[in-house]
Subunit: 907 residues, 2 copies
């Protein structure tokens, strides 16, 4: 057999034009080029026009079949019409290249020769499956038509060949139904109505004939034409339908949602049919080369004898474990095992294989890299290194860093049905169930009465809710994005959270939650939330707890061999710092001191401080806060045991701390010795229209230097204490937030230095410390050369930098950022993954300018995005020294950092 | 006479070291250098060591006296100790250069020779005045000591010389008092107490002797030493005191407040005394070469016979008009007139001259450029061009652009006393008086009852107050900066406003305003505000109305010969557009369409639109708004008559329009046909934490494209109408606000283009239009190359760009930006004058990147800063094509643009 083109020219074909050029023009410009072009790619065991690398041209399915053919595996012969035809079709008013039909016809001739059957033949009819397939799998497009080539005549040939009238008629019935529904858009329901009129269990041939007649009538009524008898028309109608489906709205939406913009179109694969339902020597099944759930290196899968693929999926009959085949069909099993080994060795990856045995002949219909659980992916990667199949670097590159989060949090057991109420943002990973509590106080109340499984469900959370947040198992908010108060606090605590679930309405008076105008829940009803997916579900679902495998430990060790970036953590509570340390954090990159003051014991003092009428009262309050702060720092220093700790001075708008309830206000009035009137005026004056852009960060310190001085004192005194106890000396980075000018950092640095000099009068207590700034405002990035004169390190605060670069409030963006993502206006929520084009540009400018005046400037990124793999990669590539992220993202960042280093080495 | 150094070496001396180096080191390093250095500069009629250009070395006074000496004017001889000595003194522990004392002594010898008197001589004592003087005048420093050189002996010599015992004793008394107070810091009050014990009118020599005795006793009690009899000690005590006063807190504060950081120190001028009080042939006075109030070219000033300078200032005797001298002392008058002409011709500027006539000899004590009113400065500049004294370019450069604002608004008549309550920000220029109204409704109520002079006084204003704001004569707010709602609206309306007057407390319940805890005012009390200075004053002050002089018109014509920038206006009401046109605006650079919807007739419809539950209701509301919008645009197009009009689509956070009162909410509910519950939820959902960074600008259009389409339709239909009426075709720029990405502008531009194509089906209605964007977010500036692919023009929105670049909310910054300015952390409020370093850098980046993809990109700036001269200069220098500012700032911007062009040509 001679295939239509030689393999040697394939490398040329693989260099496709970039997607944004308009090939339509090109085609019109040179008609000859179009005629000469190869529009059809054949494959059969031992030979193929394409290969596995040509996914963008042949789609995943076509490329896989070609590759298997080249491996001489038993693939039923067929042909693939490449994605370039789809592109041509959609750009030329649904016309085909002029030579396509003749190329298809000649391809079919070759398949006929290989199968000794003939398309449309009454004696030995050749039947085809027709499948779509782009280079990535894509729901929404037209999928599959089986048994194509059957008509009133060829059905008889099928009967003769198989000596099975029932089988032949049932195949024809199925084909009419599939073709009618998939190609001609007849409602499937209407076919089902006809079918269900007849007894379901004892279908006789008689009935099948009647069903076929009724199906054809339905077809005529719905489409206006008789059921298509011409097999070539059947084929082209189907190919047309596939290409048209590329641009149906579901497919377009899917591509937008998944940021798929670089594809030319879908390919169509026309493959000769084989049947697993030709008696007891026939079978069909799906196998995995290893267990995709646990990663164990054992043959895994199921099969059904005398059945078609659909039957395995439909679940009407229970399939057998693949290992039963060893006894049942020993020769077939051995053959399958042989192919399993060939495929895994060839692809160096766990394979998910579809096969059919037709009368004791094994056919492989599809192979692809197997989807697997996070746990399995780690075990498989490590095992494969140990088996010498792949290198350590390859193993590391195979891990999806984000999926690692699943290993660190409880997950929902996938082996159960569930009822989805709504979906919000996956704000803090992990699954949790519990009783709905509509206020932090309700959480406290139920917790005191002994209830533990509680989900706090509010419009949004505020610092006042901290205690209730601590006591809840999970959080669900209506408003706020991935970096809202609820999200940030929840991630810090490691508590699962779903935020920005705009669909829910909370009626606090009637103690009700209404979801999407459909479900009405009461306070106390049980829900389950999945903070990894954003899902909110009915009732209590089973969850799976966290355990670490030895393979995970091995992998994480390898990772440290390759990564260059230091991974730090954003944490301030001892629990979080310890967790991050255990996850491999090499220091604290962001200790948000303000979080330390929300504790009920401290908040009133904090309020007294903020609302002080004069320096004296402010200093009184600060004196009371000092011992707390010293203890906080001591604990962190002890846990970090010599690793650097970056302490960020008080940052948020002061009004976040202000009292709101009468009780709280009266408490502060008593403490502060000022009149109620004065206090109310003061509170009113402190209200800000845009608090994110108000009196916060270093601006507070410019007005009231004594606050940062208290914090400096606390850090230094804690370090002196710890240095007496610890072996390794404490290393402190003092970080000034919200700097926008050289003047600010110059003034504050001078104050800090003087304060420390006063605390360290002699040489006995030398403390290792540096003073640096957050770079979180565009102006700071632009003036980095001046700022670096006074800052020993920069830490990029990408939350604020994103807010100001985009003019986008993290608290308010949920109302439209979803729409933006869905419509491809932003690739990803910039609060989740760093906006490399805009915010990243500012970071690059700041790095370049900062280094221009201080060549040993330390560079870190400590925004929420620090744990996102894409952002970590960016950080590596632009030459940062460290990234800092929330404790649970530390392993993710470590993997991403190693991957970035490996990828950089490659290019 | 040989002066201490020849003039020929002066140019070398003028190249002083830059101020930031530490000369202390230099001096110590080379003792010889110090010894050789010239520390004393002599002057006398006809000769001088220095000249008028050496202000930084000799101070303004010293340089002026030197220059006059070189012009051979009758200057009493003396010497100046330069600012370098002050610098040395302050950097070397209050020590003097080693050769200073000998240089001073030898200088004094020369003055003695010139005056034929001797310092400390009993027969013919030489007396001195000792004055401080930096290169700019600076309150706070020690000022003047007169009659230095008198003691118990020399006073007798003075008596002999003048034959006037009373004069001699009184001079001695005055000296003890001045020296005691100014040099030794004895409370002036204590001298006054002694003096007032004796009869004030008939002071006898007897009494004077007693007073002198008591003064000396006081001196001893206060200082512990006897009154200083050694005249050299008198001199050095005084010089010490001057140099020390350079670093007193008042002087430091003044320098900080006025951004004076480049000075070395103050100089000290020691000049021989002349006396205007030696009988009827003596006199003293102050003259201006032209009228500093009107600018008229007439000799202007006052004199007093037999008097000292103090007497003229003290106002005890009423001085005579200088023109009376013509009859009174004709020779002296002619001599003065001759000197007036020499000085004005020499300095090419109006001079403010101090003179003394001592026994028929005229002496000139000081000359300096005269302070003058805005009106005078224009007239004088134009007159001087017409007289051929200066060029047009020089005339233009002499005008302070900001002072021109005073010509366009009523000002407070300076000829009246007033009582200042407090000072806020000068938010909208002009003066106004009226009854305090604590709410917009109160303004309406009183206005209806016929009261017209009303000042709206509130915490801050909101869009709901618009009607009341329109009806008030002036506005005063407690909160908000120069670009707060009140400020922007007031400037737009041309209504005077003072904002951010933090000192006032409004008690709405008791209808009271408390100012600085000192003054309690009731609603209805009358105040006067000056929006040009920020002052709030008691009662009704007299104001001066606006009139334009022909010189102003001439100047503005000259300006257009030089400026390259096109000056446009930010305006949307017909009144404002017309005003701007009359002030010379060549188009509308920013028509803020949202301002058009606050009208009571439109606001409910606007609310219906915003709160619409679906597209249908939204479109219903938009259909109702369309005819209003068409009429708005028609009026603007007519006034601009062919000049381009830039229409900015709806920009602010939608919630600015939301109803707050029950009445307003119910109105929208009725119109929108939705339930109260639904409405309340909707209102709650639309609340934003940081509205400036929320759902606004083009984001609204991405969610609801129909809003911008209505506005596009209105603009095009209005243009079609106007093109039928007007001779010059309408030119429209459609401007999309708050763009942060290429995708946004691409989508919206496509929608607009399609909309316009549908409106212009045939070739009969060709409308000239362009589509462009605001660049008001850092990300837009950084991605300008991509954005310019879809934008035909950029307009820099420097309010928002400043907010996001600095992370600074214009509404909230007043709480700390004053502190920042006072302490030199920012040079100027960046909402008033563009922050060239940071925001300016973003603008430069955007220009460079924008032009890289679209070389004919039009570039404009339309933020509030567009009317500030420094910002206009920046715009010129970076190559913008236009700036747009509020109507009253159009003339300011025109002048600044011409100055920038002239300055650029010079360098």
């Amino acid at each position: 057999m001679v295939l239509s083109d030689s393999r040697s020219t394939q490398s040329q074909k693989r260099t496709l034009p970039p997607t944004k050029t308009k090939p339509a023009t090109r085609y019109n410009a040179d008609q000859n080029d179009e005629e000469k072009k190869q529009w059809v790619y054949l494959f059969s065991a031992g030979q193929a026009d394409g290969d596995g690398s040509m996914k963008s041209l042949l789609g995943g399915k076509g490329a896989g079949l070609s590759e298997m053919s080249l491996l001489s595996l038993p693939v039923p012969p067929g042909l693939t019409i490449p994605t370039t035809v789809c592109q041509y079709f959609n750009e030329n008013a649904q016309q085909y290249p002029s030579t396509l039909k003749s190329q298809v016809k000649s391809g079919l001739r070759k398949v006929e020769a290989l199968t000794s059957c003939k398309f449309g033949d009454v004696e030995k009819p050749l039947l085809f499956s027709v499948r779509s397939g782009a280079s990535v799998s894509m729901p929404g497009m037209m999928d599959t038509v089986l048994n194509l080539g059957l008509n009133d005549e060829t059905v008889k040939g099928l009967e003769k060949q198989t000596n099975n009238k029932y089988f032949a008629l049932d195949s024809y019935r199925r084909f009419i139904q599939m073709f009618g529904n998939v190609v001609m858009n007849i409602d499937m329901h209407k076919f089902d109505q006809i079918f269900s009129k007849y007894d379901n269990t004892t279908k006789q041939q008689e009935n099948l004939n009647k069903i076929i007649q009724e199906y054809k009538l339905l077809f005529k009524n719905e489409t206006g034409i008789d059921f298509v008898q011409d097999v070539y028309k059947q084929l082209w109608y189907t190919i047309n339908a596939v290409f048209k489906s590329w641009n149906n709205s579901r497919a377009i939406t899917y591509r937008k949602l998944n940021n798929i913009s670089s594809l030319l179109g879908t390919a169509v694969t026309v493959q000769s049919m084989v049947f697993g339902n030709m008696g007891e020597s026939s079978a069909t099944g799906v196998v995995f080369t290893r267990n995709p759930s646990t990663g164990e290196n054992i043959f895994y899968g199921e099969y059904l004898k005398n059945a078609q693929g659909e039957d395995v999926v439909a679940g009407i009959r229970t399939p057998n474990d693949i290992n039963k085949m060893k006894q049942d069909m020993p020769k077939m099993y051995d053959e399958l095992l042989r192919i399993r080994n060939i495929l895994e060795t060839h692809f160096k990856e766990v394979q998910d294989i579809e096969f059919t045995i037709q009368q004791s002949t094994l056919y492989i219909l599809q192979t692809r890299n197997a989807k697997r659980s996070s746990r399995a992916s780690v075990k498989i990667a490590v095992d494969m290194v140990n088996q010498g199949i792949i290198s350590k670097k390859e193993a590391i590159l195979r891990i999806d860093p984000l999926s690692i989060k699943n290993l660190l949090h409880p997950t929902i057991d996938p082996n159960q049905g569930y009822h989805l109420y709504t979906k919000g943002l996956p704000a803090s990973p992990g699954a949790a169930f519990g009783k709905i509590c509509l206020s932090a106080n309700k959480v406290k109340e139920l917790h005191e009465s002994g209830e533990k499984d509680l989900i706090l469900c509010t419009e949004e959370t505020s610092p006042d809710d901290i205690e209730g947040m601590h006591l809840s198992k999970g959080m669900l908010t209506k408003r706020g994005g991935m970096t809202s108060h609820a999200a940030v606090v929840a991630r810090g605590m490691g508590t699962p959270a779903v935020t920005g679930a705009g669909d829910i309405q909370i009626n606090i008076n009637e103690k009700k939650v209404i979801i999407g105008n459909k479900y009405e829940l009461k306070e106390g009803d049980i829900i389950t939330i999945d903070g990894s997916t954003g899902e909110v579900m009915k009732g209590q679902l089973k969850t799976i707890d966290v355990t670490f495998s030895s393979e995970f430990d091995t992998l994480m060790k390898w990772i440290d061999e390759y990564k260059r970036l230091t991974i730090l953590t954003n944490a301030e509570t001892p629990d979080d710092v310890l967790r991050a340390r255990n996850f491999g954090a090499k220091g604290v990159g962001l200790c948000r001191t303000e979080h330390m003051f929300f504790h009920p014991q401290r908040l009133p003092i904090m309020r007294q401080m903020i609302l002080a009428n004069n320096k004296e009262i402010r200093n009184q309050a600060l004196d009371k806060l000092l011992p707390f702060q010293i203890k906080d720092f001591e604990k962190i220093f002890e846990i970090m045991n010599g690793h650097p700790v970056t302490i960020r001075f008080l940052d948020p708008p002061l009004h976040e701390f202000l009292p709101e309830s009468d009780e709280d206000i009266n408490q502060v009035i008593e403490m502060s010795n000022i009149s109620k009137d004065e206090m109310m005026i003061k509170l009113k004056n402190m209200k800000e229209v845009n608090p994110m852009l108000g009196l916060r960060g270093c601006r507070v310190s410019i007005l009231y230097p004594e606050i940062y001085m208290m914090q400096t004192k606390a850090a230094i005194q804690a370090a002196i204490q710890c240095n007496l106890k610890l072996k390794k000396p404490v290393e402190i980075n003092l970080m000034v937030p919200f700097i926008s000018s050289e003047e600010e950092i110059e003034i504050i640095k001078t104050q800090i230095t003087k304060c420390i000099e006063n605390l360290l009068p002699d040489d006995n207590h030398q403390i290792k410390y540096q003073i640096g700034t957050m770079i979180e405002l565009p102006r700071a990035a632009l003036k980095a050369n001046d700022i670096a004169l006074h800052a020993e390190f920069f830490s990029f605060g990408t939350n604020d930098l994103t807010q100001t670069c985009f003019g986008l409030s993290r608290d308010d963006s949920s109302s439209f950022i979803n729409h933006y993502e869905r419509n491809g206006i932003v690739k990803q929520d910039p609060f989740v993954a760093l906006d490399v084009d805009g915010v990243g540009e500012l970071i690059k400018i700041a790095i370049q300018r900062g280094l221009s005046t201080r060549s040993d400037l330390k560079l870190c990124l400590c925004g929420e995005q620090g744990g996102h793999p894409d952002s970590v990669k960016f950080c590596h590539n632009v030459g940062l020294h460290a990234v800092s992220c929330s404790p649970f993202l530390v392993p993710v960042a470590r993997i991403a950092a190693a991957q970035a280093a490996i990828m950089q080495g490659k290019s």
